[in-house]
Amino acid sequence: MGDFSLQELTSILAMQGFVGISLFSVLLLMALGLAIIFGQMGVINMAHGEFMAMGAYTTYLLSVMTQTYFPELMNYYFLIAIVASFIVAGSFGYLTEYVLIRHLYKRPLDTLLATWGLSLIMQQSFRSFFGAREVSPTLPDWLMGSWMPTDSIFIPINGMFVLGLTGFVTLGVFLLMYRSAWGLNVRATTQNRVMSGAVGINTKRVDRLTFALGCGIAGIAGAAFTTIASTGPTSGSLYIVDTFMVVVFGGAASLFGTIASAFTIAQAQSILEFFISSSMAKVLTLLTLIIILMIRPEGLFSSKVRK
């Protein structure tokens, strides 16, 4: 570290920190969906990464279609793609809940296996349909380039856009879960399913929509993902373990915990990556997390519940 001057070190920290911010955005978007599904329903969705890939492929498809049929609209398609990714992944999630998940609520470990099976099928479908090679959509011009606050700091615009999107979605989830009548139903169902049913909440419907919402947010994560990396059939599965760690570390049912833990994990990993090899950075980060979880198994922020 001695070779860097103070100013260089600050720039490195700022830029590396911003790389961390992009990772943070994707992790948080993935984790939000997962935290809703896992935290509210106790269901482990191993196919969550594939729902993200589904959103990414939707964005890619839309980009290709726009380029072929409406080249003059290239500047705007990305906004539509975000919505489309949400709808596609969300509807597929709705279907998955109906066909698969709802039969397995009593057996959480089995859900894990069944959704793993689903993820294999989805991965192979992506591979058959889009090919094994990684694809990336043509990004609109306004997402390119970078912003330079000083001579030595480059901050990519797409990263800032993704950060903004993440903030927007997080706010949306917060409003939906904690400020809307539907969110009240969801939280009531989480706390006491039988009692919620007794007071007239349609808990089945709540489950189905919650699952769909979680998957839909994964779809948005996929759309955001395309701006910072290219998408392959196994892109989603690369993030799934990290995402689970974010959710578990943050405390499953806490929105604030999820945000804080996504931030910590992403920053730790990307700043460490600059000084030691990226594999060791990952090992160190995950190892630290496990040790913290051994000391505090309920995660960083969690409501005090007797089990």
Binding site: F38, G42, I44, L100, R102, H103, L104, Y105, K106, R107, P108, L109, D110, L112, L113, A114, W116, G117, L118, S119, L120, I121, Q123, Q124, R127, S128, R193, V194, S196, G197, A198, G200, I201, N202, T203, K204, R205, V241, F244, M245, V248, S277, S279, M280, K282, V283, L286, L287, L289, I290, L293, M294, P297, K307
Partner: protein, 395 residues
């Protein structure tokens, strides 16, 4: 004698099932398969160790570990380190900058043997390490998890993360571990060339006998009072705890036992296949081990061996002819087993074999007679309307 018969074999039915399995893997396979296929079956049978370990841990203990590959890998790597050191004597590695160290260390500019490799020059130490390293590792993980009552899906996720950590570590530290290629070019075991057909045949028999031994040992564990407690814990953990038992100690114990069983499989894998690599450590192999157990029947020590063989034959067959279909099939299998056959092959056997008069004496051989009620419970759970507690919401 009667004690052995009842406890290690599981009475008349159990003895019959073990005998049939023994005849299949000790007589029929060696007689009818050529050397290449037999070696392949031998490789599958090493995975069966991991599947058997999951019967104890997951089927009876209700603890799903998605990190059995870690222990399989620890056993495999311990054996591979010993064999590699034997293969890298100064004579055969004299073209290296530093003769006498494994080739991949030389490629990665290491000039002496790392400290943790040195004890593996001893065969006795290696054998001890295959048993002790996984059990100590499992003890540390188990102690810190179960004492704090971490269980269920959390435990599954954390074991999975441990599998990721170990894989990334092995791949990243190429100079010390051989990296992504693993430890290859293994030649001799105490001077005995393990690459010849006769050595492979001998190793196959050692492996098969060890597997039968492990199954009988597991049966012994499960028919003991401990096995009963394990099952009780799985169904009503709190009630066992309130009865005055320290639940976490039982969990730690069964986790350690399952780790050792998987590690023995890993060591036999290295011996028979001739290399060990991180692709048998990470998430995917660990989850495949779970599917072997699920397909065979998570409550059946014998069933999982058939499950392992079936899935692996399917995998080899399909990936040779229709590689792109295999993942669809594997995924479908996962879903189908979980949704429709929670007891796997053993469950199907127990359900349909009584209807065939000829097979009737064999029925229930694959599940432990004393624990008949347990598979029935899973079945009843799966047939209950999942939303039965939310019926009130219908209106």
């Amino acid at each position: 004698m009667n004690f052995v018969y009842e406890r290690f074999l599981g009475g008349k039915n159990g003895a019959l099932a073990i005998a049939i399995l023994a005849i299949l893997i000790l007589v029929i396979f060696p007689l009818f398969l050529d050397a290449f296929r037999l070696n392949l079956v031998g490789k599958y049978l090493t995975f069966a160790f991991a599947a058997v370990s999951l019967v104890l841990l997951w089927g009876y203990g209700g603890i799903l570990s998605l990190g059995q590959g870690v222990f399989f890998g620890l056993g495999g790597y311990a054996m591979a380190m010993f064999l590699k050191l034997e293969a890298s004597d100064p004579e055969s590695t004299k073209i290296q900058t530093t003769p006498g160290i494994p080739d991949f260390m030389d490629w990665n500019q290491l000039y002496e043997l790392p400290w943790f490799w040195i004890p593996f020059e001893s065969f006795t130490f290696t054998l001890l390490a295959i048993i002790l390293v996984p059990s100590i590792f499992a003890f540390i993980i188990g102690y810190s998890m179960f004492k704090r009552r971490v269980g269920g899906v959390y435990f599954a996720i954390i074991t999975q993360v441990i599998a990721v950590i170990l894989t990334v570590l092995i791949v990243g530290q190429q100079g010390y571990t051989g990296g992504i290629n693993g430890i290859t070019d293994l030649k001799t075991l105490n001077g005995w060339d393990i690459r010849t057909d006769s050595a492979k045949l001998a190793l196959y028999f050692i492996n098969a006998l060890l597997l039968l031994g492990v199954i009988m040992l597991s049966k012994f564990i499960l028919t003991s009072k401990f096995g009963q407690l394990l099952l009780a814990m799985k169904d009503k953990e709190d009630r066992v705890r309130f009865s005055g038992y320290d639940v976490s100690n039982f969990k730690i114990f069964v986790f350690c036992v399952s780790a050792v069983i998987a590690a023995i499989g890993g060591a036999m894998f290295t011996l028979q296949v001739g290399f060990m690599s991180p692709s048998f450590v990470g998430i995917v192999p660990s989850i495949e081990m779970v599917i072997f157990a699920a397909v065979g029947g998570r409550m059946s020590l014998i069933g999982v061996v058939y499950g392992t063989l079936l899935v692996n034959f399917g995998k080899t067959g399909f990936s040779e002819t229709f590689p792109e279909l295999w993942l669809f099939l594997m995924g479908g299998l996962f879903i189908a087993v979980v949704m429709f056959f929670p007891n796997g092959l053993a469950g199907i056997w127990n359900k349909y074999a009584p209807k065939v008069p000829f097979l009737r004496p064999l029925v229930n051989s694959s599940t432990n007679a004393e624990t008949k009620s347990a598979p029935a419970k899973i079945e009843s759970e799966s047939t209950i309307e999942p939303e039965s507690t939310t019926e009130g919401a219908k209106s």
